[in-house]
């Protein structure tokens, strides 16, 4: 069963864009993470990126840094996170992507984790610090277990390189919309619409746009040229700003709901 493909096809049929929600696992705790994910799915999220916290998140801005630190302070481990994914899978068939830095996978053993992910029903992995050149280290293992490796394309990626990445991409392509780290950007990189169009032309899989998308307005602006929108820091900001976890979850669900509604009109 290809849950990622099915999801994008369903969105296409319903004439809307997919909503991809990123969640830092373990912030403030894994029970909250599980409730948050289920609530986000209920509120319009189509795909979940389950973020594995790392001690040195060099591609992340202040919000996800803080969320990751909190999760690690509470002793969150990859094994516990996989258990959370397994719990979510009992209630929902939404695709789950394990979103992680490479070292956490290496330390746990690539083959072991890939096998576990497949058994749980995780659909793919996105590894922030594993560029195209190093894909070969991982792809055979993931393919053996039927997992997709989600590729990233940045505003700095030259057209020729972007084509190469797009041609072999699996699942969907994550297209970074601004130069910088996650969260907090006020404007998208120049030429982002052309970029998205070009990549969409080259790719055999759907193209999602992400980084700094925190409102229905921003999501709507990008929607015409992509197949899905990734929202991450905006969700975790809601969680970090609330003293009461349930309030944080409700507020994050509200944000996702607004974005999902806006994307239906595109």
């Amino acid at each position: 069963m290809d849950r990622i493909k099915n999801t994008f096809e369903l969105c296409d049929k319903e004439n809307r864009k997919a909503v991809i929600a990123y969640v830092t696992a373990g912030c403030p705790d894994l029970e909250c993470t599980e409730n948050l994910i289920l609530k986000l799915i209920e509120s319009g999220a189509d795909i979940i990126e389950l973020g594995v916290p790392f001690s040195d998140p060099t591609a992340d801005g202040p919000v996800i840094q803080k969320a990751s630190q909190l999760a690690l302070d509470h002793g969150t481990t990859l094994q516990q996170i996989l258990q959370t994914a397994s719990n979510v899978r009992k209630h929902s068939q939404a695709p789950i992507i394990l979103f992680t830095y490479y070292n956490v996978l290496l330390a746990n053993g690539l083959d072991k984790i890939a096998a576990q992910c497949a058994e749980i029903g995780i659909d793919g992995m996105l590894i922030v610090d594993l560029p195209f050149e190093h894909n070969a280290e991982l792809v055979p293992t993931l393919q053996k277990h039927g997992l997709k490796l989600i590729s990233l394309i940045a505003p700095t990626t030259p057209a020729e390189r972007a084509s190469k990445i797009a041609e072999v991409a699996e699942g969907f392509i994550y297209c970074i919309t601004s130069k910088g780290v996650t969260g907090g950007q006020t404007s998208f990189a120049a030429g982002i619409d052309d970029n998205l169009r070009n990549i969409r032309e080259k790719a055999n899989v759907p193209v999602a746009a992400g980084f700094g998308i925190d409102s229905a307005e921003k999501a709507s602006a990008l929607a015409p040229n992509c197949d899905g929108i990734v929202v991450g820091s905006a969700i975790m900001r809601c969680i970090l700003q609330s003293d009461d976890p349930q309030k944080g979850i409700d507020s994050a669900a509200g944000t996702i709901n607004k974005i999902a509604k806006a994307l239906k009109q595109n």
């Binding site: 790392f54 001690s55 040195d56 998140p57 060099t58 591609a59 992340d60 801005g61 840094q65 630190q69 690690l72 481990t77 990859l78 830095y101 490479y102 070292n103 956490v104 996978l105 290496l106 330390a107 746990n108 922030v128 610090d129 594993l130 560029p131 195209f132 050149e133 190093h134 990233l152 394309i153 940045a154 505003p155 700095t156 990626t157 030259p158 390189r161 970074i176 130069k179 910088g180 780290v181």
Partner: protein, 395 residues
């Protein structure tokens, strides 16, 4: 044959996609200019007239007498402009930045020596400069913060994580992702993504080239042992480069043992670590079973890093170099020893190498030779030394 950017299984380019095009640009520029006659002659002029190279190879007579064994020579990188080996690399990278038309330099720093060396060359070439430094290091290396400010650099104090060198490097990488169009990231050690380990080694290899020539002139033979401290490992790689092909020369890298390996409070990535990926390269790291990086401890801010250059990990694997550990208290004793026997105040980083030499020399013959890379001077460390001694007295 090694594949490009790899030393055995170590090295690589494990960075976010946003940075890959810049690494490719840097790689191409480095390959183009490293042997370019204009680049090389300008670099040589700065090495000679600005840094003061060659640095002397000094026979430490009283230290040798004290140890009563092998003859100990010191490669005096502490006499370079700015007081450490770091400037050999920053002048090379800043010159490359100039040839590439970049206007802004950024750097991470631990002890502050690399930060000062980067701030210095930024002033020299009229470039903008921002240095990222862990808040804990800003506190314990205050004189270097003042030097960088005097040189016109902006200092950004980093409070995330353990507020030390690795966190400063995280923040420098994040800043580079945002500013990649006009900014050159001057990495201070032989770590990071390719081409940094190779490039930094290249600019530091002048230490080993000179040391080899100088010891042959003075003694007509090669040394038996070459000793250097290893944090990220740039001064060690620099001096090892001159001798790595001489199979009979024993290479020794000294890691920071902190309060002792058994206490877990140390920074010995090779001796006490496992293979992983951090800051763009695969190498030996101090990490948990779950792949989270462990906060390190060393009295020496410059060695306080949970990783090490990938080539060191490889040299350890193939047993071409030996890696040992010196604890804080041994480094402090060696600091005192060199001050009193030779009238040289060594950096606490270099004191680790001195300590290892003082351990080995008594077991060697008087006709044998040790070269220690005295990578920097210790003026910046007076406060750390005093605090350590007071804490010992209070125990």
């Amino acid at each position: 044959m090694k594949s490009k950017g790899f030393y055995g299984i170590y090295g690589g380019q494990y960075v976010a996609e946003t940075l890959m095009p810049s690494l490719h640009e840097l790689e191409a520029a480095y390959e183009k200019y490293k042997n370019d006659s204009d680049f090389v002659s300008e670099l040589r002029e700065y090495l000679r007239d600005y840094i003061g190279r060659p640095s002397p190879l000094y026979f430490a007579k009283r230290l040798t007498e004290h140890c009563d064994g092998a003859r100990i020579f010191l490669k005096r990188e502490d006499l370079n402009h700015t007081g450490a080996h770091k400037i050999n690399n920053t002048i090379g990278q800043a010159l490359l930045a100039k040839f590439m038309g970049k206007k802004r330099l950024i750097a991470e720093t631990g002890a502050g020596m690399h930060g000062v060396a980067t701030a210095t060359v930024a002033a020299l070439f009229g470039m903008e400069c921002e240095v990222f430094m862990g808040a804990e290091d800003v506190r314990r290396q205050a004189p270097n913060v003042q030097r960088m400010e005097a040189l016109g650099s902006k200092i950004t104090s980093v409070t995330s994580g353990s507020s030390t060198l690795k966190d400063a490097m995280n923040e420098a990488i994040r800043n580079w992702i945002k500013t990649v169009d006009d900014t050159f990231y001057v990495i201070g050690t032989v770590a990071g993504p390719h081409p940094y380990p190779e490039m930094v080694r290249h600019f530091q290899s002048i230490i080993g080239e000179e040391a080899r020539r100088q010891i042959m002139l003075k003694t007509s033979k090669l040394p038996d042992t070459v000793i250097a401290c290893v944090g990220g490992g740039s001064n060690a790689m620099g001096i090892f480069a001159g001798f790595v092909d001489d199979e009979d020369v024993h290479l020794v890298g000294v890691e920071a043992g902190g309060s002792g390996l058994a206490t877990g409070k140390h920074a010995a990535s090779i001796t006490g670590g496992d293979t992983g990926v951090l800051h763009g390269c695969k190498t030996k790291l101090l990490q948990t079973d779950d792949g989270q990086i462990i906060p390190t401890h060393s009295i020496s801010a410059g060695l306080d890093y949970p990783g090490v250059g990938p080539e060191h990990s490889h040299l350890a694997d193939i047993k071409r170099a030996e890696y040992v550990v010196i604890e804080d208290k041994e480094a402090i004793a060696a600091f005192d020893l060199l001050c009193r026997t030779e009238g040289i105040i060594p950096a606490l980083e270099s004191s680790h190498a001195i300590a290892e030499a003082a351990k080995r020399a008594p077991n060697m013959k008087p006709d044998q030779i040790i070269i220690v890379n005295l990578s920097g001077r210790g003026d910046k460390d007076m406060q750390s030394v005093q605090e350590f001694k007071q804490s010992q007295e209070n125990k």
